[in-house]
Symmetry: C2
Subunit: 214 residues, 2 copies
DNA sequence: GAATGTCTGATAGCCATGCTATCAGATACC
DNA sequence: GGTATCTGATAGCATGGCTATCAGACATTC
């Protein structure tokens, strides 16, 4: 199974992705070209197969657009220092928030939560959190400060787990991949686990009684 | 400002949403019709304004599709018991995961994390988490168990905050709205805060040095 | 050394989503 | 009574993510 060389048809069969779609990924620069063996022949290897699986993970599971996946994959492939790779991944998975659309009040509240954190002003997450704050108050939900504080605590736990995973890798390529994958899939993982935890806690606190009406 | 009655043009101006878009929301049953005062005249109130803001929050900030937002709004409007409303909101914000696409192994791992939790087998979050597990191992990242465990802890913290917010409301309508909004926006909030926490922890652990490379 | 099948890049098309533009007729209101 | 505005209905448009088709170049088998 080591370093199998194959042509397009086999790559398609093994990845479960249609030939036309693989070509689409190549056109979009998500997938490098094969090794050319003639004007219209090329061979693909296990690296291509892995790359396709990574693309599917980012797009289908992580919910990234093709454009975001491209930026993220470029960051992996680059030889940029890790912090830059991290930053690119963060920007790719966070859809841009126009800074002028969030209120100063919301930013102040969010910054208060993150007192003591070293976070740059244009961190995409900071703006996204502030926008959630604005949305909450705009909808008429007030007193969300406690909710926000506890989410910040949860976020810190998750981010520590992320960084520890990063530390556990040695090579830059492995670190870069875990940064990207963790950034993209961490959101999906958390939201899944939160749903499960909600059901668990809800069933504890609101036990289902016969003919209950609340 | 109480219960202002207005026509379409004013509703559009006050919400910042184009008239055609408001009509689109009505067609899609996101927004109830106005109070008809003639064959081609209708009046709208503050409830419509609030509803539009809620729609924008769900779609633009929470990232719901129009179809998902419709399901969620219907759940709010219904007089269903709260647990059902919760469940609808959960399904609406989680894109469906085909249970046959996740491996038994992944489910076993996820279930091990949630040992002691009361979670039904078809909880969408459980399946989503298992799919992330599969994606992780399919990409060649192993030993993610520690990472998963810590995310589960974070999810529990967040879910507790969710349920406490719910308990803080009294009326069903308020509870239903916080359930829906919290479910939809909680993911966005967390992902923002996690990004910020990542930058914070990363800067602590990998201090930027002059000419550092890694 | 041809016949048959497979590969290639390029191009165009398709479908879903989320609006947006236009229309014709009815009403508001000065 | 005349202009501005409202109404629902319908059609159109932009983007994203594929997917189908094509003509021409190999490859493989006999």
């Amino acid at each position: 199974m080591a370093d199998a060389a194959m042509k397009m048809a086999e790559l398609s069969a093994r990845s479960g992705v249609a030939v036309a779609t693989i070509k689409f990924y190549q056109r979009e620069n998500l997938l490098p070209p094969g090794v050319r063996t003639g004007p219209n022949q090329a061979l693909y290897g296990d690296a291509h197969l892995g790359r396709i699986r990574l693309i599917l993970g980012l797009t289908e599971v992580g919910g990234l657009t093709v454009a975001a996946a491209r930026r993220v994959l470029e960051a992996i492939d680059s030889e940029l220092p890790l912090p830059e790779t991290f930053e690119i991944a963060q920007h790719a998975v966070s859809e841009a928030v126009d800074p002028t659309t969030v209120t100063a009040d919301a930013l102040a509240h969010v910054d208060a939560l993150m007192a003591g954190w070293h976070v740059s002003d244009d961190n995409p997450g900071r703006l996204a959190a502030a926008r959630v704050f604005d949305t909450f108050t705009g909808i008429g939900q007030i007193d969300a400060a406690g909710w926000f504080r506890r989410y910040a605590a949860a976020a810190l736990v998750a981010a520590e787990a992320d960084i520890d995973e990063l530390d556990a890798r040695i090579e830059r390529a492995a670190k870069a991949e875990i940064v990207v994958v963790g950034t993209a899939l961490g959101d999906t993982l958390f939201s899944g686990l939160r749903r499960a935890a909600q059901e668990h806690l809800s069933s504890l606190r609101y036990p289902v009684q016969p003919a209950s009406e609340i």
